[in-house]
Amino acid sequence: MTPLERPTAWVSGTLLCAAAAFGLLLALPGQTVTTAYLNDLFIFLDGAHRIASGQVPNRDFHTALGPLSFYVPALGYWISGSMGGAMPAAMAATTLGLALPMIHILSSRLRPVVAIPYGLFLLLIVAVPTNLGESIASLSFAMFYNRIGWAALSLLLVLYLQPGNPGSRQNLLDALCAAALTLMLVYTKATYGLVALAFLAFMLFDSRQRRWVLWALGLIVLSALLIEAFWQSSLSHLEDLVLAGQVSGTRGIVDLSLAFLRHMTDYVLLAIFAGLVLWRTRSLRDLLFFGICAGPGLIIQSQNSQPWGIITVFAGAAVATEILLRSRRLAGHESHGILAQGAPLLLIAFLLPTSLHCFMALGVHSIAATARTGEPFGLPRFGELRLTTLWLPGNRSFMTDYLMSIREGARLLSELPVKPENVSVLDFANPFSAGLGLPPSRGDYAWLHWGRNINDVNHLPPEQLLGGVDVLMVPKAGINGIPLRNLYGTYIQEAFDPIRHTDLWTVYKRREASVLSSVGQSLEHAKPSRVGAGDGM
């Protein structure tokens, strides 16, 4: 026991310090700087605003993302007290929160040479404000839930290893960590949660670890019941998930194989690790474990709007390295221990490029946020949010044009004689309620992404989506305003009066005391929007 204390302390200390440092880098400037996916950011600022106003996800608004995807930004908003500080503070809190189970899991199962690089890697994945696989300059908090999902799942997978030196409370802590991570995944984004549950089911076959797995499953069931007692919206969440699944749930073999080819490098490396392990252990369970690292990750990745990054592959590599190092100790001085000695180096080389990339992006965000780079969004409550381009190549006018249109919409709204009660935007996201401090809309979608969670076959009836709205903002183009306008146009003409009209927006006000007739649906197809964001499923 005693010889292990020191390395364990090293691992815990390093990871905790690193998590604190990354958290501070994010949260201290108190600003959000973004160069991409502005529209996605608005979903979560709006979400934080909704939660702060007392709304409950899936009860007061529709979303296919789990409730935590809204409570996490709300937590950030609560900590920082400003819209601009909400996302960085939220991700800083998540990074620190994830560090706790990480310290237990990694220090009890991996030796420091594996635990420290792998732990830093996972912390950076959570902390970095970019969409995985994109350039360092592509700063954005969009799809933060994917990064939380990858990191939590990849941490959970390390539980596959038996603890090196089990302490007295090992089983209890294991069960708590596994249950907490799984619940986090289930209530952040369902696809990750399913994989986590499947992994726990697989762990039941390990007789030496079955105990904590059963406890964890029990804890998960109990917590789910408890959450349901308060939340009371699991069923409507499932309905929203099914709807989003019908729109964009399936991926063809072509998509999957192209995704596989994009990740060829990672898979080849995992294959090298797995090959070394299986050659040594010849264990079917090990083979299945590597399959769990490789297969579901591919499906999740192709579901995500993310060019690269199957992080579970790295989990497989870390576990493989640990197995190799353990078996070397057992094998003693036999000659086939040679390759095992090289495994940590290979692992570090595997983790290093991505870690560096993420660390640099995190640094770029901190510097840009501290230096107040870029132009402020221009809405009253969005003072600490800025849009900039950094050195991204290509035409970035799409995002600046979008921001211009948002500003004009905000101006139109604030010029209205009566303060609107329930503003809705017939487009991707609603930046106005949060940006102007209006009461959030109720009963609608947190976001509408054509071809992702809505299309001309699967959508809410207009009475349900727009029934409670008193002021409706309809953009000329927006992110995906045109197909939505085609879909709901007839109802809008029947139930609303246009009151303002500019080049970018039409502002509608609900017609007083009018009788609504049922509306036929438009079958006109439209192109999916140009933004790969809001991929909730």
Binding site: L258, L269, Q341, L345, L346
Partner: protein, 540 residues
């Protein structure tokens, strides 16, 4: 399975065997399958046609590409007899020739665990029909010279190591290999050649290897002089290079430099690991210079190339570092190879294996598609073995498919001219009609134009030079590269209306024929260009 027991002769044999398999996969189907950069392919095929009609690069036509870019596929054409087989067979020969040098270099300098992965990696770089850094469905022989350059440079860099298994005539063979690789690069694409010469200068610092390096310099010089006496166009080639350099050779902005570096961050990180370990062990200034040379020259080359990823000098430098680490590891008492040496060899495998698998799969895909007659043939009689294929996603297929349709239309328009057809110049990225219909090519024009890359409004050939021998000018309404076609039209429209008559106008083309000297009426061409964005590109 112990790799370290393989003898050097076996390593050489294995390298040659792999190269032979790659060459057969390329050459046997005798077809060219492409999904991207069709326009680039036509440059080479047009060049093959010109060369086999007796023209000489840079003397009879202008080009910023080295003469070997035309002679390599021409060799393939002479062997196979079909333009469609010219590229694959030419590349197969190239791969075999480079494999001879590779077999010598890696078997004398690297241990088998490093030699085999690295040489297979380099051979596949040369053999795979895609632009490096692109996905498996981007089949194309476009910019093949870049791949040859990378592979040759990668091999040359291995010669930094002092040989461990000395052969008879080691220095002679070394200098011969180095000189032929350098000459290949010089006359394929000058930028690679210059890097090769720079490396030879670096080798002069090594007292033990100075002999072959000096001899290689001498051989390069002698080879250059010999080529100049036969080719006699070095000056014209340099003029063409300067013209292209004036358009696209400017220094890149810091933004671009940073984004290229960040795009290749993973490769640079791995390379830095190798270099740091090796330098920590050897503490040699020469070594430091060498790794810096690998990193820097690779960066400069990829900046010049039309290529997103795949800096081949980095894995080559990493292999050198891994070999040096293995050599300097003290033989410890318990016969255990220390972790660092074992780890770096494993890491090198991990470094080169993913792209090797990717390239092997791509090569196999090309062979499978080529031998099963997939896709759509180019509608020009001599290009019947060049096929455009759509793989999985739409990609550039609709654009190129439409372009092919316009080529069929153009061929009909030309055949309507009857005997007059010949010496055709197309005001577009490339002109496929001379080669595709077997017409006599004009002299003095350029095999390809690329707006913003080889020409722009300030840098271009005077019309008197470009059209000196042109009888028919084809102006496309559906060009493969819109910007180029539009730019050429603006530059040359005055000359065209002064000296040519609009003979025929079809759906996709305007056909101008050289005016008989008696006629003097001038006519201006109509401005009804169909706007269509195209996806095409090429290195210069």
């Amino acid at each position: 399975m112990n790799v370290s027991k393989i003898r050097p002769a076996c390593v050489a044999a294995l390298v040659l065997a792999v190269a032979t398999i790659c060459a057969l996969l390329l050459a046997l189907p005798g077809q060219t399958v492409t999904t991207r950069y069709l326009n680039d392919l036509f440059i080479f095929l047009d060049g093959v046609h010109r060369v086999s009609e007796g023209q000489i690069p840079n003397r009879d036509f202008h080009t910023a590409l080295g003469p070997l870019v035309y002679y390599v596929p021409a060799l393939g054409y002479w062997i196979s007899g079909h333009l469609g087989a010219a590229m694959p067979v030419g590349m197969a020969l190239m791969v075999l020739m480079m494999a001879l040098a590779a077999a010598h270099i890696v078997s004398t300098r690297l241990r088998p665990a490093i030699a085999l992965p690295l040489s297979i990696f380099l051979i596949l770089i040369a053999a795979v029909p895609i632009n490096l850094g692109e996905s498996i469905n981007g089949l194309s022989f476009g910019m093949f010279y870049n791949r040859i350059g990378w592979a040759a440079l990668g091999l040359l860099l291995i010669m930094y190591l002092r040989p461990i298994h000395r052969r008879p005539f080691q220095s002679l063979l070394d200098s011969f290999c180095a000189a032929s690789l350098t000459l290949l690069m010089l006359y394929m694409k000058l930028s690679y050649g210059l890097v090769g010469l720079g490396f030879l200068i670096l080798m002069l610092l090594d007292s033990q290897q100075r002999r072959w390096a000096l001899a290689a310099f001498g051989l390069v010089l002698a080879g250059g002089l010999l080529i100049e006496t036969i080719w006699d166009s070095t000056e014209a080639h340099i003029n063409d290079l300067l013209l292209a350099g004036g358009v696209s050779g400017s220094f890149k902005s810091l933004d671009e430099l940073v984004s290229v570096f960040l795009r290749n961050l993973a490769d640079y990180t791995l390379f830095a690991l190798f270099a740091a370990f090796a330098l920590w062990r050897t503490r040699s200034i020469r070594g430091f210079l060498f790794y810096g040379f690998c990193a820097g020259s690779g960066f400069m080359l990829i900046m010049q190339n039309f290529q997103t990823g795949g800096i081949v000098t980095l894995p080559a430098g990493a292999a050198v570092a891994a070999e040096l680490l293995a050599r300097t590891t003290p033989a410890s008492a318990d016969r255990k190879t220390p972790a660092l040496a074992a780890g770096t060899q494993l890491l090198l495998l991990a470094f080169v294996l993913p792209s090797s698998i990717h390239h092997a799969a791509t090569l196999g895909l090309h062979a499978a598609l080529a031998s099963t007659n997939q896709g759509q043939a180019v509608p020009l009689p001599k290009f019947d073995r060049v096929r455009l294929v759509q793989l999985w996603t739409e990609d550039n297929y609709p654009v190129f498919s439409r372009y092919l349709e316009s080529l069929g239309d153009g061929a009909r328009a030309l055949s309507a001219l009857g005997e007059e057809a010949g010496r055709v110049h197309v005001l577009d990225f490339v002109g496929p009609f001379s080669a595709g219909l077997g017409l006599a090519p004009p002299k003095g024009d350029s095999t390809w134009h690329h707006w913003g890359r080889t020409i722009n409004e300030h840098h271009h050939l005077p019309p008197e030079t470009l059209f000196q021998d042109v009888r028919v000018v084809m102006q496309p309404k559906w060009p493969v590269e819109f910007a180029t076609a539009e730019g050429l039209r603006q530059i040359y429209s005055d000359y065209l209306s002064d000296h040519y008559d609009l003979e025929e106008e079809t759906k996709d083309w305007k056909v101008y024929v050289l005016r008989e000297p008696a006629e003097t009426v001038s006519r201006s061409p109509e401005d009804d260009q169909d706007e269509e964005e195209t996806f095409s590109s090429s290195g210069g």
